[in-house]
């Protein structure tokens, strides 16, 4: 047997005084960690398989289980950490590219946590959202730059197509294929009940979900999976995916094992074949090309739906956004590099892109400087973790936010970052029927609704404290933010002052 270069990453601690041997942990672990030994008459664990998804801990009826990081320690240094050593061992064993899932775990600065929100005192009264009207409804789309009059002198009230959001929070793109059908159903039903939108991702729209079309943003990505006229017509808006925050410059690869019958039909590709999304759109090499695709899609849907363009936050994001704003897009979605993914090369996820806070601030500023901010709405995503992050995003200039990871958390995800393994014990990032079953959409959708309603309440409370009664009045209102522990360059990019100024 070859030498195992690194030990199990987690330890399974079982309190034998509490364990009643019901074997629920064993039945519910798709990684086959737990097992019952008849000779000893008790449960044991094969710790090497554990990914710390916490499923067993959460279902154990007597609370007998704990999973914790293996305390075994390599002789690590600040430079060569245990993590880096293990990754090199892994690659020396496999010869392959390292794959990871969800947002980067690395310790990059989280600028949300370095901004503080203002509140009213004495001279301008705060508002109590329970007693006074508070508006969190937003509209996404082009806003006219001037008042136009009809030949008879009346004002032309015709607007380009808009999306109406009852809450300024949408569910970001997660494809059917990367997540399960039950997860998709939960998102679709929650979006419908909340009066907001979810996004198909690039996996097409399952036939069962056409009924939620009024709350669906249909995505057109580089692989063009599942795209046809009926699909474009079904959605409330169309999103062209140019990039994703977690893996800018990289396409996608859904392995053939996940392309079962339903996924194959929805994506319109043969069963068992790998679904490969190229890194570029092969018909887009310039803003002019992008404009062509935007207008092709508008033409196909008779100019009734807004077209979104989603880009990853990268170094020159402001210039790119300026081009997109001029290309005819109605909404720009910016995805920060801490955003999640169902699978990405580790080195890309952990090293490519820039934080959403800086990208959002610079895009908003650039569009304002160029006088074209009204041409597009801005949707920020890529690690908006809470309602306070959302409020800060609005103050930096976002019209609405996309949430992906928080939505998955609502469905039970414990961020074990093993989506690419396809054995999600929570029934989210898997296509195995026995695992998909574990996510009951009746429960899932209600938890999503609860989460977004809770955020909405908190957003209203925070806005009320500032003496602001609508997202419109908060949007781009950077005077409501102060930096804490940021240097002058960071403050300049964010367009905010330091606390105390």
């Amino acid at each position: 047997m070859p030498v195992n270069f690194f030990p199990a990453q987690f330890e399974v601690l079982r309190n034998t005084d509490k364990c009643i041997g019901c074997r629920a942990c064993e039945r519910q672990c798709a990684n086959e960690v737990h097992y019952f030994d008849g000779d000893y008459g008790k449960m044991f664990a094969n710790e090497a398989n554990c990914v710390d998804c916490q499923r067993c801990v959460c279902i154990c009826p007597t609370g007998a289980l704990k999973i914790r990081p293996n305390e075994n320690a390599f002789r690590e240094s600040a430079n060569y950490t245990q993590q880096i050593m293990i990754e090199n061992y892994r690659q020396a064993g496999s010869g392959g590219v390292l794959l990871s899932s969800m947002g980067t775990p690395k310790d990059y600065p989280v600028y949300w946590d370095k901004m503080l929100i203002n509140a009213s005192q004495v001279t301008n009264p705060p508002i109590d959202p329970l007693r006074e009207p508070m508006e969190t409804k937003v509209f996404l789309g082009k806003k006219p730059g001037s008042i136009r009059k009809n030949p008879d002198g009346t004002i032309n009230t015709e607007l380009p197509p808009h999306l109406e959001l009852n809450v300024p929070i949408m569910f970001s793109a997660m494809s059917y294929g990367s997540i399960s059908k039950n997860a998709h159903e939960s998102l679709a039903r929650a979006a419908e009940e909340l009066g907001t939108y979810y996004n198909t991702g690039e996996g097409g729209l399952h036939k069962d979900f056409y009924q939620y079309g009024g709350n669906t943003i249909v995505q057109v990505a580089s692989g063009r999976f599942g795209v046809f006229k009926g699909y474009l017509d079904a959605g409330a808006a169309i999103e062209i995916k140019m990039g994703q925050g977690a893996k800018p410059g990289i396409g996608g690869h859904l392995p053939g094992e996940k392309i079962r019958e339903d996924v194959s039909k929805t994506r319109m590709i043969p069963m068992g074949t790998d679904a490969i999304s190229p890194a570029p759109h092969h018909d887009i090499y310039s803003i002019e090309d992008l404009r062509q695709l935007i207008f092709s899609l508008k033409e196909a849907t008779e100019y009734t739906k807004p077209v979104f363009v989603k880009i990853a936050a990268v170094h020159n994001v402001a210039a790119i956004a300026s081009g997109i704003a001029r290309s005819g897009a109605d909404v720009i979605c910016i995805d920060g590099f801490r955003g999640g993914t169902g699978a990405a090369p580790t080195r890309i996820r952990d090293n490519v892109g820039i934080p959403i806070e800086l990208a959002l601030a610079s895009v908003d500023q650039r569009l304002r400087d160029e006088g074209i901010r009204n041409e597009v709405s801005i949707v920020a995503g890529g690690s908006v973790r809470s309602s306070s992050d959302a409020v800060k995003a609005f103050a930096l200039g976002a019209d609405a936010i996309y949430i992906g990871t928080p939505a998955l958390l609502a469905l039970g995800c414990h961020l074990c970052r093993s989506c690419h393994g396809g054995k999600c014990n929570w029934g989210i990032a898997t296509q195995r029927p026995d695992l998909v079953k574990r996510l009951n959409p009746d429960v899932g959708y209600q938890r999503l609704v609860n989460l977004v309603r809770a955020w909405d309440h908190e957003i209203k409370e925070i806005m009320g404290g500032m003496g602001i009664n609508s997202i419109e009045a908060l949007k781009g209102n950077r005077l409501m933010l102060r930096g804490i522990g940021l240097n002058q360059k960071e403050l300049d990019i964010l367009g905010i002052q330091h606390a105390g100024e």
Binding site: D17, I20, C22, A24, R27, I59, P61, K437, N440
Partner: protein, 149 residues
Amino acid sequence: MKRVYVNEDRCLGCHLCEYYCAFANSGETDMAKTFKLNRNPVPRITVESAGDVNFAVQCRQCAAHPCVKACITGALSFNSGVIQIDDSRCVGCYTCVMSCPYGCIVIDEKNNGKTITKCELCTRNAIGEPACVSGCINQAIVFEERGEN
């Protein structure tokens, strides 16, 4: 009447309902103690599994209640939608076990098999609501009104 139903498409076959049922009817206050101290807790619900299909089965409290009709001592009775068992009258003849079309009458091992026991919708224990329903991790087991059966 509200009854316990199992949505087969949601049932994961984790068997936790059996444990919550046995605990609820054990009279104990601590789950670990119930099973660790070997008091023969008997579940009144059983998960049936074959391949990927699982579903939990317990007394349907059916309107026909052949068990009540078969009972030779009158230990079983049908009261406001619940088929109840009177331990003091049961003689352990198992005629009800033979007559139940769902196989839901359970031999009470706690009483060395001298009596039977069955689901009484947790109406006679300290839980008050069906423990299998509240304990189901996927809300596959529900307690609801679906019309008479």
